[in-house]
């Protein structure tokens, strides 16, 4: 069904740790993995699935590690990749950083986790908060865990333990919207969308029932209410804890939240948004002598709002030298290892327009290598504001002990995949 075995390799293809789940694929097959991968890379035909005879490798890369699953069946590939990413998530939560060293430093726990996360190729409990209740890093804690039956593991509510206690019951709700934009070299917006995410930090006692109310257009249409601005969400994705069939039937978002931090939901909105920071650029390349760059950035959002930590990243040829900059505000810096000029503006009020000029020398001997045409990318953050106008209208919290709990809501809009193609 999914993986026969899972391997963690270093960049040289050496097995750091592995677990054979099904025994139907020879474990030594992994020795071919890196050779095949290198071969693909050389041919420029990289692919997340590599096959060698009847064995198929499905792999992902994380920092200096390859995580590889093998199979010789018609496995559910999406499940395998989702599981490999889940492995990364769990390991990261256990070890802060997942890299070669942390695997070696914690190999006992890694073995334990591999044993618990998957059985005979079937992913099992993968919620790291729950796992941490009975697979602990220090051996001494085990004596406590030993007497404890892991009920949460098999409960219908498999993401929250019972008996949590907080002095002050609070929920922090972050609504974060990322803007994805692709602008053509001639300035027309090829595609744009908003990907929103609602994150929770839950500090609530017991097993509370929560209900989140948004100004969801479909919900308002269903209930016949028609007050104020509503938002049409193209697609919504929920955390395991949300009752999906309930949402499907009456658009109610009801759930028992996981403790601590979690992403409750994400959504996508297709409506055409004006790029919040508009970039106009002129990049003139005079072969053998110089490159001249002029970039104009304009804040196309409300005057009251301010974009923070704005970074405009402008690509330059790899053989450029002797940078000179002039900016009307902020600070420009050449990052030669990335072939970029990064123009940073700490605070960018709406409606304002700024300018940056850069001048680079080019060597008289032409660079043979063809260079791509990387786009200009922009990073920014605008607090207290969502582009879509989405609002948390209420968060109802009901727990049988009857405590009062306070929800806190924070809005932020930021750049997602924000690319503007250039003429250069």
């Amino acid at each position: 069904m999914s993986a026969s075995a899972v391997f963690v390799l270093d960049l040289k293809g050496k097995v750091l740790i592995c677990r054979n789940y099904k025994g139907d694929v020879d474990m030594s097959e992994i020795d071919h993995f890196l050779t095949l991968l290198m071969q693909q890379e050389e041919e420029g035909l990289m692919c997340p699935v590599i096959s060698h005879g009847s064995v198929h490798f499905m792999w992902i890369k994380h920092s200096n590690l390859y995580l590889v699953a093998t199979t010789n069946k018609n496995s559910n590939a999406s499940l395998v990749y989702a599981f490999l990413y889940k492995l990364v998530e769990v390991f990261t939560e256990y070890f802060k950083e997942l890299e070669e060293e942390s695997i070696q430093d914690n190999f006992v726990v890694v073995y334990e986790l591999l044993d618990e996360l998957m059985d005979f190729g079937f992913p099992q409990t993968t919620d790291s908060k729950i796992l941490q209740e009975y697979i602990t890093q220090e051996g001494n804690k085990l004596e406590v865990a030993k007497t404890k039956v892991p009920t949460t593991v098999t409960n219908a509510v498999s993401w929250r333990s019972e008996g949590l206690k907080y002095k002050k019951n609070e929920v922090f709700i972050d609504v974060i919207e990322s803007i994805n934009v692709l602008v053509n070299a001639n300035g027309s917006v090829m595609s744009s969308d908003i990907v929103g995410s609602i994150k929770l930090k839950t500090m609530l006692s017991g097993m509370p029932e929560l209900r989140l109310g948004l100004n969801d257009r479909v919900l308002f249409a269903l209930t016949g209410r028609d007050k104020g601005k509503t938002v049409a969400m193209e697609d919504v994705k929920f955390h395991q804890c949300v009752r999906l069939s309930r949402f499907e039937s009456d658009r109610t978002i009801s759930f028992i939240p996981p403790d601590g931090e979690s992403e409750l939901m994400s959504y996508r909105i297709n409506t055409h948004v004006k790029p919040l920071i508009w970039i106009e650029s002129v990049i003139e390349k005079f072969s053998h002598s110089r490159v001249e760059i002029m970039v104009k950035a304009k804040g196309q959002f409300k005057k009251q709002s301010v974009a923070n930590n704005v970074e405009v990243r402008v690509p330059v040829p790899s053989d450029a030298d002797t940078p000179k900059f002039k900016t009307s505000t902020g600070h420009a810096k050449y990052v030669p290892e990335k072939n970029l000029v990064v123009w940073t503006i700490k605070s960018f009020p709406g409606g304002k327009e700024f300018l940056m000029r850069a001048h680079f020398g080019l060597p008289s001997v032409e660079n043979d290598e063809m260079e791509g045409k990387p786009p200009i990318t922009v990073k920014f953050e605008i607090p207290y504001f969502t582009v879509s106008g989405i609002q948390v209208r209420y968060m109802k919290i009901i727990e049988k002990s009857g405590y009062q709990a306070l929800p806190w809501v924070r809005y932020i809009t930021q750049s997602g995949d924000y690319q503007l193609r250039t003429n250069a």
């Binding site: 097995v15 035909l45 699935v49 999406s78 190999f107 051996g139 996508r268 995949d417």
Partner: protein
């Protein structure tokens, strides 16, 4: 603690102590030292030692020698230590099976531990020790654990059944574990249900005939309930299992879909894809006019688009699947072109897939945007991506006719960049554009020729040579160009050599005077100096053709080429349907059926989509696994599979006993294959009403049987028609109707094949047509028109093809004709030029009708008038014919001929010769008189003599042809 300090020095870790310290022992006496430590009395030391053993194992050192010592540590109340020992056992038990027995007791004991964690751990580990001797000891503990009070133990035990089954299937069956596992589907705990489903699916997959997953509406209901409550992974197990179920009817199908759609909102991409699989499959059963069908279509698009924001590897899987979905149901994503635009930082495998989907979604509505993007991509640096982008532009030109011109000019712009591989790709695709739109874009040839020198890839060189040869008459220096290639003939790849040979022969046939030397040169290079058999053979064929019959050579070499089809890389429909059943799996990523990459006969099982409601097929098929019949299960392959052979056998048995194939109406130059194919088609699509016995037996034959296979007698169609006629008004003997022949082969008409014949029924002329759709898309909007013809034949009404013609479908239409249309003399006289239009294009073909079609019912002349007319027509208008080898006596002949409205006016017998005097009247009032002489005395002389007299003598020979046809059939 030397190893520790060594490590600290090496890494500069100082005080931080981590597990990595266990990795550093490399000394010689290590095993011995470990042995001592393992047998230490101190718990801590023991644990440390086991950790070191595991560390050595991890780095690939063989520590199997420590087996007994490690097993001795097994009996501990320390869970961490226990886990490590178990881990060790899993690794080495197989290499030390005898010693593994030592561990059995502890396992059995642990399975009864008060701590459920330990019980589960024991049963989980035991299943992973693939040693036969151990498995028998596993049964009792497993039985207990399957009924454990703790769900954590039960869910682990459920998986253990699958493990044990993998080692010893018989044992699992004998012990009744499968039934226990089935019972667990009704367990109160969702995770237990999910694991039971996963285990059962796994077992069923490797034993397709086990009938394990006996899904029925009750179990389905349980699964759907558990779906709401189990973990994300459990949801995938259940969804994948549901996908194997075939609902009883469209209502059940809809209700399952309704309960599965909420999963499309799950954050886990794999849950979403598995839900998409179930929906795509069950949708097949919903009637298309159902409101819910439309709702479902709309619901599928947003989650598919959202998958493109997932991690790149998941994006890749999603894109490969979207590629299938777009082919199966293009309407789902037709408005989502923009989301497939390539981002600069997409990994190459994502870029290439997006590009492929963009082309599939390209239509007249969005082509401008697509082209702008493709042009942008073509200036990138990644060579493979750029190549594919250039190819994509060519594919757009071929797919969206309105864009062809723009595509060509974009390609020309790209050629101007002079980037070598861009130019070469562009030339390859321009060749295809020429083939699709002949005589439209040849003006660009000059530009192409400028780039001749830069072509270094065989495919591009071959394409360019093809262009030069094909359009040699328009290229002044074609001979020079081709000659330049000839210099290095032997260094070229075969592809280029073959193309060069053909191109020069073409050139020679077009400009024979100047190129004689060149053609001789290439022929000798190909035949004498080459050791490639293909090249040599082709060379000899040309040589002989040219030397024996240059005219024939011209016909062969410069023959009109069929147009290339629009989409060349569509997945074959049966394979596509199978892949849709495998959404999310490796099969869907490879676009190959599992049987192509999963080894061995086990687990290879073709899945197929359920039949649409109303087809009556679905009701009887309880489960896909069992219902797969040999016939419809045939995998797409060149070698006929069992299904095809079966089809042929059926077909052979069905064939009516007949010895000779009737002659084809004159001058229809169809190949034997086409003739047979046509006959077969009409046989299959047969007039069921007309011949009930045949219709019934035909129903058993597979509908999609490939035409042209097997010896299908073409008379079948005629037979059907005869039956038809027999059921009509009291006509004694039916008129002869030639069998249907292919008038328009599919390759000349973008997949539309038309075969047909003519018949005269109850005084009305009919054109009996069979339309077969051999293309991949549905055909609609059929219409027909005739050119002016000799006898004013015209359709008496519109062409009645009411329902759209789906791929592989054949429809039979009978078109009544009148003779009141415009008249123009045709050559040959009985030639009919026809235009047929459908939603794709207009196609032209010509066919010839037997002139007997025009013989009217009141064509019997009075004897006296006959005599007078015979004398009146000048004798130079009399034509003599011989009908050889006809064994009919005069009465039989007379009867036969009367069926086709050739009436015997008088009969005379002189010596051993019967003379029949006959009259015929054409629809336009022309009379024809005939004298037919039949030998009666001598059985050896079977030749008939025919004299025809007519005021319009040019008709005579056609009348004779009718005599031939009628008397011989």
């Amino acid at each position: 603690m030397e190893w520790a300090s060594q490590l600290c020095e090496n890494r500069g870790l100082g005080s931080k102590m981590t597990d990595s310290k266990y990795f550093t022992t490399t000394k010689k006496g290590e095993i011995f030292e470990l042995k001592a430590e393992l047998n230490s009395d101190k718990k801590e030391k023991k644990k440390e030692a086991v950790k070191k053993v595991i560390a050595s194992m991890t780095v690939g050192k063989d520590v199997s020698a420590l087996f007994p010592d490690v097993v001795n540590c097994m009996q501990t109340d320390n869970l961490e230590l226990k886990k490590l020992v178990y881990l060790y056992l899993m690794n080495y038990a197989k290499s030390q099976p005898d010693m593994a027995i030592m561990a059995v007791n502890t396992f059995v004991k642990d399975c009864e531990d008060p701590n459920p964690l330990i019980r589960a751990l024991a049963v989980r580990t035991m299943g992973c020790i693939r040693v036969d001797k151990i498995t028998e000891y596993l049964c009792e503990p497993l039985r207990k654990c399957l009924k454990d009070e703790d769900p954590y133990v039960r869910k682990t035990a459920a998986v253990c059944v699958a493990k044990l089954h993998d080692i010893n299937a018989q044992l699992v069956e004998d012990q009744g574990f499968l039934d226990t596992l089935k019972d667990l589907i009704s367990d109160s705990n969702p995770m237990v249900v999910a694991n039971a489903v996963a285990a059962l699916s796994e077992i069923a997959e490797s034993h397709p005939n086990s009938n394990l997953l006996d899904l029925n509406p009750q179990t389905i209901n349980k699964l759907l309930t558990a779906l709401n409550e189990c973990t994300e992974w459990g949801q995938i197990f259940i969804l994948d299992c549901l996908a194997n179920y075939t609902p009883r009817d469209d209502r059940e199908s809809q209700s399952i879909c309704e309960r599965v759609t909420p999963r499309l909102s799950h954050a886990n991409s794999a849950v979403v894809l598995s839900a998409v699989k179930v929906l795509m499959k069950f949708m097949e059963m919903l009637p298309k006019d159902l409101d819910y069908y439309g709702t479902l279509l709309k619901k599928l698009a947003p989650p598919l688009v959202t998958l493109l924001s997932a991690e790149p590897e998941l994006q890749y899987v999603a894109l490969r699947n979207i590629n299938l979905i777009v082919q199966k149901r293009p309407e789902i994503l037709k408005h989502e072109m923009k989301v497939f635009f390539v981002k600069y930082n997409d990994p190459i495998y994502v870029k290439l897939e997006k590009l492929d989907i963009m082309i599939r979604l390209a239509s007249q509505a969005n082509i401008a945007q697509v082209l702008a993007e493709l042009k942008e991509y073509a200036t990138e640096v990644d060579v493979d991506f750029v190549r594919k982008a250039v190819r994509a532009i060519g594919r757009c030109a071929i797919k969206v006719e309105q864009s062809a011109e723009r595509c060509v000019s974009t390609l020309l712009d790209l050629i101007q960049t002079k980037v070598n591989y861009v130019v070469q790709e562009a030339i390859v695709v321009i060749k295809d554009i020429f083939r699709k739109y002949p005589n439209k874009y040849e003006s660009v040839i000059a530009t192409l020729c400028e780039n001749l020198d830069s072509l270094d890839e065989p495919e591009a060189r071959a394409a360019m040579i093809w262009i030069v040869g094909e359009y040699a008459e328009r290229i002044d220096n074609a001979d020079e160009l081709l000659e330049s290639f000839l210099e290095g003939f032997h260094d070229e790849s075969t592809q280029v050599q073959l193309q060069l040979l053909t191109a020069i022969v073409k050139l020679f046939l077009k400009k024979p005077t100047e190129t004689q030397e060149l053609v001789q040169q290439v022929l000798s290079l190909a035949t004498q100096d080459s050791d490639n058999p293909d090249l040599r053979d082709r060379g000899y064929i040309y040589w002989r053709l040219l030397s024996t019959d240059p005219v024939a050579a011209k016909e062969v070499v410069l023959a009109e080429k069929p147009l290339i089809s629009e989409e060349t890389d569509l997945i074959e429909p049966t394979l596509l349907d199978e892949l849709i059943c495998h959404i999310g799996t490796l099969a869907s990523v490879y676009h190959k059926p599992p049987s192509a990459f999963v080894e061995g006969g086990r687990g290879v099982q073709h899945k197929r989509l359920p039949a649409r409601a109303g087809s009556g097929e679905s009701a009887e098929s309880p489960d896909v696994g069992q219902a797969v019949s040999a016939v419809s299960d045939a995998p797409p392959a060149v070698i006929p599979s069992q299904g095809d052979l079966l089809g042929d056998l059926l077909n052979l048995d069905l064939a009516p006993p007949t010895s000779n194939v009737p002659p084809v109406p004159s001058s229809m130059q169809m190949g034997a294959m086409d003739l047979l194919g046509g006959g077969l088609d009409s046989l299959l699509g047969g007039d069921v009403g007309g011949s009930p016995a045949m219709g019934v037996s035909l129903g058993g034959a597979p509908v999609g049987m490939p035409a042209g296979l097997g010896a299908a007698p073409a008379v079948g169609g005629g037979l059907g028609d005869l039956f038809d006629l027999g059921g009509g008004v009291g006509v004694t003997a039916g008129s002869y109707i030639p069998p249907k022949t292919v008038w328009l082969p599919a390759m000349k008409a973008k997949g539309l094949e038309i075969s047909g014949t003519f018949a005269r029924r109850s005084g009305v002329i009919h054109m009996d047509l069979s339309f077969t759709n051999k293309a991949m898309s549905v055909m609609t909007d059929f219409a027909i028109q005739f050119n002016k013809n000799s006898f004013g034949l015209a359709p008496a009404g519109p062409l009645q093809v009411l329902t759209p013609l789906s791929p592989n479908q054949t429809v039979d239409v009978s078109l009544p004709l009148s003779t009141t249309g415009p008249v123009m003399k045709m050559e040959p006289l009985n030639n009919l030029q026809v235009a047929v239009k459908n939603n794709i294009d207009v196609f032209y073909f010509s066919c010839q009708y037997p002139i007997s079609l025009l013989f009217v019912e009141d064509g019997k002349m009075d004897r006296q008038v006959f005599l007078a007319t015979w004398k009146d027509i000048p004798s130079e208008n009399e034509a003599q014919f011989q009908i050889k080898d006809c064994h009919l006596n005069s009465d039989a002949a007379s009867n036969k001929l009367q069926g086709s409205n050739i009436f015997t006016v008088a009969k005379r017998t002189v010596d051993t010769q019967d003379m029949l005097y006959q009259s015929v009247k054409l629809t336009n009032g022309i009379w024809m008189l005939a004298e037919l002489r039949i030998q009666t005395g001598n059985p050896n002389s079977t030749d008939l003599e025919l004299s025809v007299k007519c005021r319009a003598p040019e008709v005579s020979q056609y009348v004779y042809q009718c005599y031939e046809l009628i008397l011989r059939n």
